[in-house]
């Protein structure tokens, strides 16, 4: 049996991916390249925050010390956030936003499909609910990868550049952390290593269709699952935590 404190850490790992990517997409509100895309990206952000709330409400309940979902979301230190490095990468341009989304969405869907089989009923319920939403996300991001890749010379070059920069962050998905191993051995967590083959197959398929390729020489980057983040994380948190830090216990 997995201990409560480890289960909480496991849940935070999952929800921090959704939350930090949701925050990155939220930054684009009012800045999308056109109205429809702006709305789509913020809708995806909203879905991710909704999923985050379900996870954090559950984690707060397990913690059982009066902590709330807001405490869990806003009052941790940088190294206590366990999201993968990919989701904290900046909104450099629209190609980066789409590639980051696509590389995460494909993994997210595969991950949730496994999590929906979890022995933990609440995690299974959240995953089942989220799958329905993430199917729309991957359709949206995949569609744009094809459009930009197989679009103009300029769009092709720019999205290829984004893939070259962001692809090195994807291997972290499949490097199981200690807590992921614990959750996996108690049949609560997902065997992330097992997702890699299917992931690469699906991503390669779509990139080929979009006339794009993976970079040849790759030095994979990781550390987020251990709380070692890239330089961007502090800035995200400064923005994200500002209201709770400035006005403690504020609520809407």
């Amino acid at each position: 049996m997995i201990q409560n404190k480890d289960l909480i850490q496991y849940i935070l790992g999952i929800s921090d991916n959704a939350m930090i990517l949701g925050q990155r997409l939220g930054e684009l509100c009012g800045h999308g390249p056109n109205l429809e895309t702006d709305i789509a990206l913020t809708n995806i952000s909203l879905d991710l925050f909704g999923q985050t709330r379900s996870y954090l409400q559950y984690a707060a309940k397990l913690k059982d010390d009066g902590s709330t979902e807001d405490d869990m979301a806003y009052l941790r230190k940088e190294h206590e956030y366990k999201n993968v490095l990919l989701v904290e990468q900046p909104n450099t341009d629209f190609a980066y936003v789409i590639v980051r989304q696509f590389l995460f969405d494909v993994y997210h869907l595969l991950f949730l499909e496994q999590l929906s089989e979890s022995k933990d009923q609440q995690l299974s319920a959240i995953a089942t609910k989220s799958i329905k939403e993430v199917k729309y996300h991957v359709r949206f991001s995949g569609d744009w990868v094809k459009r930009l890749g197989d679009g103009t010379k300029e769009s092709h070059n720019r999205i290829q550049a984004a893939i070259d920069i962001l692809y090195p962050y994807t291997n972290e998905f499949f490097e199981a952390s200690e807590v992921e191993k614990l959750a996996m051995s108690s049949e609560i967590g997902v065997n992330v290593q097992d997702l890699k083959t299917e992931y690469l197959k699906l991503v390669t398929q779509l990139l080929t269709e979009a006339t794009l390729t993976f970079p040849e020489q790759v030095y994979f980057l990781s550390g987020g699952k251990q709380g070692k983040h890239t330089e961007y994380m502090g800035f995200i948190l400064a923005d994200f935590q500002y209201m709770q830090r400035t006005y403690p216990n504020m609520s809407w």
Binding site: I39, L46, T128, K132, E133, D143
Partner: protein
């Protein structure tokens, strides 16, 4: 397969529940939307199980407050629990609800296969809420709220929302 279990609602509570509607689709009551999974009265307290349409749907908090207020007006306390399992799906929207949506200007969800076709832009099947034509085209997979996509009618040129199928 989708769970189609009918909700467990005390008949004497139905009239009060039907006074509460989705704040984003005011013509649709929470009962017709299918988000009330159970409502049972024990003495002076009504126990309600509410399920969200989409995880991030901001309407859920408003609906909870509105339910509490509606029962309070009748001298009843409420205990509302948000449940995720089984997950809400668009089959739970009642026939009456679908008709009301259409009349309000939101095309109700098609079945899963057709839904996929129209959202990929491969087929024209969604009925225009203004003129009824099915010569309609996807503008954006995401509309004014997470549950809707944006369409336009090629005949009368009217833009309208389509409530996406969720299964």
């Amino acid at each position: 397969m989708t769970a189609t279990s009918a909700p467990n609602i005390d008949t004497n509570l139905l009239a009060i529940l039907e006074t509460v509607s989705d704040p984003e689709i005011p013509v649709l009551t929470v009962v017709d939307l299918g988000v009330i999974r159970s409502a049972v009265q024990k003495e002076e307290t009504v126990f309600i199980e509410l399920t969200p349409t989409y995880s991030g749907c901001p309407a859920m908090d408003v609906i909870s407050d509105d339910l509490t207020a509606a029962f309070k007006a009748q001298g009843l306390e409420t205990k509302i629990e948000l449940i995720l399992d089984p997950a809400w799906n668009t089959d739970w929207i009642s026939e009456k609800g679908r008709d009301q949506m259409q009349a309000y200007g939101i095309a109700p969800p098609l079945d899963e296969t057709s839904d996929k076709q129209v959202l990929l832009g491969n087929a024209r099947m969604v009925g225009c809420t203004n003129c009824g034509s099915t010569n309609t085209q996807l503008v954006s997979q995401f509309g004014s709220t997470a549950c809707k996509a944006l369409f336009k009618c090629e005949d009368c040129l009217e833009p309208f929302d389509y409530f996406k199928c969720l299964r």
